[in-house]
């Protein structure tokens, strides 16, 4: 495992299933931003989902089957960069437990030790510095639960945002409160999930921000969907895509 200070020559990129199906541009932006720093990105075609949906829903065997595939696909001893706090947390913090007592445990641990959340990788390993070429804009930041509490990478994401000189970062009153996505929770308990996301939408609206930025596409889908249904004036965008835009004058 490459030590923190050394820049790797190659990294894997785990796109996540939500980015694959709904936010491919965010995935591409994240990849391009890594490549821009002179690092080669490998996107194994065999990747799919980290397994979290089944893992959280009471189906650990199915989660293991899918997770095992990812362990096999990301087998080289190079960092795995993940543009999602919850997927990164799944691989880093939950894979070892998921494979406890199985033959895949060593490999699971090995993969876990190589996982980085995207903003964490950009700041801690690549030590990026960005120049903001965009027009002045007010945005607000939503702290995804797993990025906050499990990966503990929020500060890295905010550091990236603070590098952008013309971006005004307005704080949410309840920045750290769950947006209500919770994967299948939003389907199984729509009313509670709805109450949570609507409170989050109200909070965002109160800041007057043009955009809400987050590092997790589950949250973004959830917030964007609720915001659109209520014809809210703000858009929801992934951090990587936002940065790509800003440094290119968008």
């Amino acid at each position: 495992m490459t030590p923190e200070s050394a820049k790797p020559s190659n990294v894997y990129f785990f796109g996540t299933c939500l980015i694959d199906a709904f936010y491919p541009d965010a995935g591409l932006a994240a990849i391009r931003l890594i490549e821009r720093e002179g690092v080669r990105v490998i996107f194994p075609a065999g990747q799919s989902c980290c397994g979290q949906p089944a893992y959280n829903s009471g189906f650990p065997d199915e989660a293991r089957a899918v997770a095992r595939r990812q362990i096999q696909v990301f087998r080289q001893d190079i960092p795995v960069v993940v543009p999602s706090g919850s997927c990164a947390a799944m691989m880093k913090h939950h894979y070892p437990g998921l494979f406890a007592g199985t033959d895949d445990l060593d490999q699971a641990r090995a993969l876990a030790s190589r996982v980085f959340e995207w903003s964490e990788f950009m700041i801690r390993v690549l030590k990026v510095r960005y120049e903001d070429r965009g027009d002045p804009i007010r945005v607000t930041w939503h702290s995804s639960c797993h990025a906050l509490r499990e990966m503990k990478v929020i500060e890295y994401s905010k550091q990236l945002l603070r590098q952008l000189a013309r971006v005004e970062l307005a704080e949410l009153t309840n920045e750290r409160e769950c947006c209500g996505f919770g994967g299948t929770f939003s389907i199984k308990h729509p009313a509670i999930s709805g109450a949570l996301v609507n409170d989050k939408v109200d909070d965002i609206q109160r800041t007057g921000a043009a955009r809400v930025i987050a590092g997790d596409c589950g949250c973004l889908m959830n917030i964007a969907g609720a915001g659109q249904q209520r014809a809210m004036p703000f858009a929801a965008q992934h951090l990587a895509e936002f940065i790509w835009e800003r440094i290119h004058g968008g």
């Binding site: 959280n56 595939r69 109450a195 949570l196 969907g225």
Partner: protein, 473 residues
């Protein structure tokens, strides 16, 4: 409770704007208070680690410590009773009361007594249980159950409480002044303390080393119940025993800071025996009822055993975005909030209460603040696994109750797709084309109750990688 019953409760609670306002205000307050009293992050972590270690140590020696507690308490003159079920615990309490020909009990706040549904039971036997904690007093007047572990009447605002006092307390004027409402409670209950023949309390910690019952409170009603009447009955869950007196200072700091944002409660009450020779006051009889009610079964499973570390501080409730919005009653059982979600299904069975384990987004806010570091999200996941498990033997009653073909096939299908990349790509591509035209039913319908339709990308990330010149190996 059935999923539908819970959903109904949730809908009703979410529609109650006053309730939501009351809870949002109170929980926000609790969060700030806790932050203020645990302001040093590193020190707080050390303290939580210590709380976890003390509780894990105590649980690792649970039978030995309970035996020691029994022996030392008995030697000190406290009569110890063991109750496997709440029905038996109720019987024991009743027998003690009847042995003294009493018709009234003054009660300090005790969640175990709620678990026992003690008041209702005593009522059917002609014995009046008088709640003396202000919050319990309020809800008792209104025929309600507590909605929070620490502040039972937090779902009510001043106006609602003023109305209850005015209508239900003889001679009480209508007033929303807290000092006046307080005075009404003090005056009403002072007489009851004076007259009561029996006092009942819970136990925060029971120290095996010295046979000491530790009770914390702010109002003084607990001391009144355990000092003035000639008989004191203490009820506790068997997980409340700790090894040494020296374990108390950190646990008290954690409990008090987490529960109310204080450094210390008004009173920390350490009871080791009934009145001794020459003493002028204090109960002449002290009884300790140790309740099992499923705890020894929870204990069998090392992972689920962590549920028993709980010190009943209520801070998980305070930080839970779900609890804040639906309040305590919606859960439908005695213990609400995150602790309720892991405890209740294990005690009542997954078939009766398993639904609670799914009413969480697994955000982890509870785990982040639990003073004894119970890994609540992991235990919720475990209970979810148990609901769908096809194992023949299980630590949890009602295991496998949610098994159904539709979900099993859905997840098997999901796993198949996600382990067959080419098929997966085909399906994603297809959804990219027809996703907008999917009929709104089932999961999609539920998603769209509160959100506009999700937009599948016309081409997935997988589909664009090659043309973007990104290596795939």
């Amino acid at each position: 409770m059935a999923a539908e019953a819970f959903e109904k409760n949730v809908d009703r609670a979410l529609a109650d704007t006053q309730l939501r306002k009351n809870f949002a205000f109170a929980m926000g307050n609790f969060i700030l208070k806790r932050r203020a009293v645990f302001s040093d992050a590193e020190e707080t972590e050390r303290l939580r680690d210590l709380g976890n270690a003390i509780k894990q140590r105590a649980l690792s020696r649970l039978p030995e410590l309970l035996e020691q507690l029994d022996a030392v308490c008995t030697r000190n003159g406290i009569r110890v009773h063991w109750a496997e079920t709440t029905a038996i615990a109720n019987r024991i309490v009743l027998e003690i009361i009847e042995a003294h020909a009493a018709s009234r009990v003054v009660k300090g706040k005790s969640m175990v007594s709620e678990e026992m549904h003690l008041n209702a039971f005593l009522g059917t036997h002609g014995i009046e249980a008088i709640e003396t904690d202000l919050g319990e007093f309020i809800i008792q007047l209104n025929g309600e159950t507590p909605s929070h572990i620490i502040v039972p009447a937090i779902h009510k605002n001043k106006a609602q409480i003023a109305k209850i006092f005015h209508e239900k307390v003889a001679g009480a004027p209508y007033t929303e002044e807290v000092a006046e409402l307080n005075a009404i409670a003090r005056n009403t209950l002072r007489r009851k303390f004076y007259e009561a023949g029996i006092g009942l309390s819970g136990v925060n910690f029971a120290v095996a080393e010295t046979g000491t019952l530790c009770l914390v409170e702010n109002e003084g009603n607990g001391r009144m119940c355990t000092t003035v009447p000639p008989v004191h009955i203490a009820v506790m869950g068997l997980e409340k025993v700790v090894e040494r007196l020296a374990d108390l200072p950190p646990l008290l700091r954690l409990l008090t800071g987490s529960a109310t944002g204080q450094l210390v409660t008004t009173y920390v009450n350490l009871i080791t025996s009934p009145r001794r020779e020459g003493e002028k006051d204090g109960p002449q009889e002290v009884h300790l009822v140790i309740l099992d009610n499923g705890r020894s079964r929870i204990y069998q499973d090392p992972q689920l055993r962590q549920t028993l570390q709980c010190v009943r501080c209520g801070t998980c409730l305070n930080h839970c975005p779900v609890y804040t919005r639906i309040g305590g009653h919606a859960y439908g059982f005695v213990y609400p909030g995150p602790i309720g979600k892991i405890l209740t299904p294990q005690v009542e069975g997954l078939d009766k209460a398993g639904e609670l384990a799914f009413a969480s987004s697994l955000c982890g806010a509870c785990e982040e603040v639990c003073p004894v570091k119970i890994p609540i999200p992991a235990l919720l996941r475990r209970l979810r696994d148990e609901c769908y498990s096809s194992a023949t033997e299980s630590a949890v009653p009602g295991s496998g109750c949610k098994q159904n073909l539709a979900e099993r096939l859905a997840w098997k299908g999901w796993a198949f797709l996600n382990t067959h990349p080419r098929l997966n790509r085909m399906v994603t591509t297809l959804l990219g084309r027809v996703g907008d035209y999917l009929p709104s039913s089932g999961p999609l319908e539920r998603w769209m109750r509160y959100r506009s339709e999700p937009a599948f990308a016309s081409r997935s990330l997988h589909g664009r990688i090659k043309e973007e010149g990104i290596a795939d190996e």
